[in-house]
């Protein structure tokens, strides 16, 4: 089991390295940090442009810049930002902590929803519940994340107006200034998380619930489920111990495959609710043609995706003995 995990980790390292190169190359090719300076009116003086060129390593060839960046990362230096006073590394760390709680909680809720709805619609196939749940799922699959988030935000505002006080937070990830005391702070953070988490969770659950339904149907028709019933186990026991347990295994892979798009969803959701998280950082970095910041962001995102896939792989091995020794 351990060997399995270690092997998977070793597998991922070269992938990450190649990814980092592609990210850096693409990032460098897609943005010219000096363009804003040149396009300013009046344009920035030549000595400023020259100084920035050196500071941003633009006088070096691509490969040298890349290795410099990669090397620096190991010491926590993610390279020079267009904003000379900013430290990309620490900024990313702060933003990451903000976003990860949104993603983690939303994924958890989405998973629970997906399993519950997926199993219920499979067991009550062709019932009214199945049809309405399926339709709702289709609706959320077709729903643009930003539109739905705005809708929720508006609902929050209306609710607050109706109730009279700010019962639900609609802006930011935490109040400004943040309340004193850990308890109050945590409550405040959680309060700000309500709407964005609901938005992200509802956008994400639909595909998973369809998949769970299909997986459950397939398992329920299997021979081993039939044998389990022939043993004299109650329908419910068969469904949970044999049906669910086996049907949920492929869900780990499906969830992991979607992590990249959930990050994308978080970017959009954060934008709507004006969080100062990874999403806002990305948008700003791209707008400012900040190559190092954008590349670093993408690298972090890629690392998260690869790490998630790794966890899913190992989890799959834990759940399914057939591939454990493969």
């Amino acid at each position: 089991m351990l060997a399995f995990a270690v092997r998977r980790i070793l597998y991922s390292i070269p992938v990450l390295i190649v990814a980092s190169f592609i990210i850096f190359a693409l990032g460098s090719a897609s943005a010219d940090p000096l363009a804003p300076l040149r396009e300013k009116n009046p344009p920035a003086p030549q000595n400023v442009i020259d100084a920035e060129t050196v500071r941003l390593h633009l006088d070096q060839p691509l490969l040298q810049r890349y290795f410099g960046w990669l090397g620096g990362i190991f010491t926590g230096d993610f390279g020079p930002s267009v904003v000379s006073t900013a430290n990309i590394g620490s900024d990313l760390a702060d933003r990451f902590l903000v976003t990860i709680r949104l993603i983690a909680l939303a994924m958890l809720i989405a998973l629970v929803l997906a399993v519950v709805i997926g199993v219920l619609t499979a067991v009550k196939q062709y019932s009214k519940f199945d049809y309405s749940a399926t339709f709702l799922g289709f609706l959320f699959l077709a729903m643009p994340a930003f539109w739905f988030a705005i809708l929720l935000k508006q609902a929050g505002i209306e609710f607050n107006n109706a109730v009279g006080t700010q019962a639900i937070y609609t802006i930011g990830q935490v109040s400004v200034p943040p309340p004193q005391g850990t308890g109050a702070y945590i409550l405040d953070v959680l309060g700000h998380m309500v709407l964005p988490t609901i938005a992200l969770a509802l956008i994400s659950y639909a595909a998973w619930s369809r998949f769970t339904r299909a997986s459950m149907l397939e398992v329920m028709n299997s021979d081993y489920v039939r044998l389990a019933r022939a043993k004299g186990l109650s329908r419910r026991t068969v469904m949970v111990k044999h049906g669910l347990r086996t049907a949920l295994i492929p869900l780990t892979t499906v969830t992991a495959l979607d992590i990249a798009s959930i990050i994308g969803g978080a970017v959009v959701t954060e934008n709507v609710f004006q969080w100062k998280g990874m999403g806002d950082y990305l948008v700003t970095s791209i707008r400012q043609n900040d190559v190092y910041a954008t590349a670093s962001w993408l690298l972090i995102a890629a690392t998260v995706v690869i790490a998630f896939n790794l966890i899913a792989d190992v989890l799959y091995g834990v759940l399914d003995p057939r591939i454990r020794y493969a």
Binding site: S222, D223, Y224, R226, L227, A228, R229, A230, K231, G232, L233, S234, R235, T237, K241, H242, R245, T246, I249, L319, D320, P321, R322
Partner: protein, 365 residues
């Protein structure tokens, strides 16, 4: 020209016990886009303790559906009527909760494909223990001990260690033996084996049949052996039922069926068995295919393929009538014409082969 099939006395069970299962007028149909599919049309039989009843038929004859109906494991869409008398009650009247008490403890079933019958994520020991604990209030440890004991009985080597293995670590034959162990776990009164060897190599078949015999000896159960393979029936069954298109077409003891068949279909089945001891005789395959059980026309369903077919065969479906004795029934208007007949008396041998050989014989100098 009747051949002798070896039904060695050592394989026969001597005394028959009491009636343990009685099926009366069993009818099963499924709705479909083209009309109701009548998979089982009025089947009656009795099963006695300790005996082996073989049910023979092609795919689609209704043999599996009959047994699934007994276990009440058919899909909800199935329409089942008739009576299945077991332990003084009609199984078709039982609630689902009561039925789960019957399944696995009074009536057990073994399915065809051992590769998919076991859940891949649980150990085989756990799956056997689960069957025990479903019906007896024992500790996990005690159930596991029983599981090891059962694995031993079906001749799985190193039973104690093996109990912790997963199904994918075992061969098909071993997996099927695990399934048999599960079936005998709670000393059932009836064991239904639905094509237990069909998915396995011939070499493994004997092992499985031995394991089934061990199961029956151990539990004293009555066994229903469903198969399309007459060879498997020959060595094991006391009585045989032949099914075609959802109905019983011949019923009798093994000797009745093999030595004095009275229904052309049975004769055809016997004739299409490849035999090592019949060098000279040719195979007599039955031409055509089984009918669709949707919108069945009147008359005998075997009619279109039967060499003994006459007009009356298309008018009325023959009833099961006694032939050589009261316990030997056949559903054929022309049962008497089959006295002393062998397969190649009634069916054509391979026509194509004969012509080609004829031609070759004429060409070679």
């Amino acid at each position: 020209m009747t051949e002798q099939i070896d039904l060695s006395p050592s394989r026969r069970r001597g005394t028959k016990g009491d009636v343990v299962l009685e099926v009366a007028g069993l009818d099963v149909s499924f709705p479909s886009g083209d009309g109701p599919v009548r998979a089982v049309r009025g089947v009656d039989y009795t099963l006695r303790r300790g005996e082996v009843l073989g049910i023979v038929g092609e795919s689609g004859s209704g043999k599996s559906v009959t047994s699934m109906a007994v276990m009440r494991l058919l899909p909800n869409t199935a329409r089942v009527s008739g009576e299945i008398r077991f332990d003084g009650r009609n199984l078709l009247d039982l609630s689902e909760a009561e039925m789960t008490r019957v399944r696995g403890s009074k009536i057990a079933m073994i399915f065809q494909d051992p590769m998919t019958s076991l859940n891949p994520v649980y150990t085989i020991g756990a799956q056997i223990a689960e069957a025990v604990r479903a019906h007896h209030d024992v500790s996990k440890a005690a159930a596991m001990d029983r599981a090891v004991e059962l694995l031993d009985k079906v001749r799985i080597p190193n039973a104690k260690d093996r109990a912790g293995s997963y199904p994918h670590e075992l061969s098909g034959g071993m997996r099927q033996r695990v399934v048999i162990a599960i079936a005998m776990a709670n000393d059932p009164d009836v064991i239904i084996a639905d094509e237990p060897t069909t998915a396995l190599d011939v070499t493994v078949q004997a092992q499985i049949m031995d394991a089934l015999k061990a199961a029956q000896d151990e539990t004293g159960a009555a066994m229903v052996l469903i198969t399309h393979d007459l060879g498997v029936i020959a060595g094991q069954a006391d009585r045989v039922m032949v099914m075609y298109a959802g109905k019983l077409v011949e019923v009798g003891s093994a000797e009745d069926i093999f030595y004095t068949p009275r229904m052309p279909y049975t004769l055809g089945l016997l004739g299409s068995l490849p035999r090592l001891d019949r060098r000279s005789a040719r195979l007599t395959p039955i031409p055509g295919s089984p009918p669709s059980v949707v919108n069945m026309p009147p008359g005998c369903p075997f009619g279109p393929r039967c060499p003994k077919h006459t007009e009356i065969c298309d008018e009325t479906e023959p009833e099961l009538r006694p032939t050589t004795g009261p316990a030997h029934l056949a559903a054929c208007h022309h049962a008497e014409t089959l006295v002393g007949a062998a397969a190649d008396d009634v069916f054509e041998t391979e026509v194509a082969d004969a012509e080609a050989l004829h031609q070759l014989a004429e060409e070679t100098p």
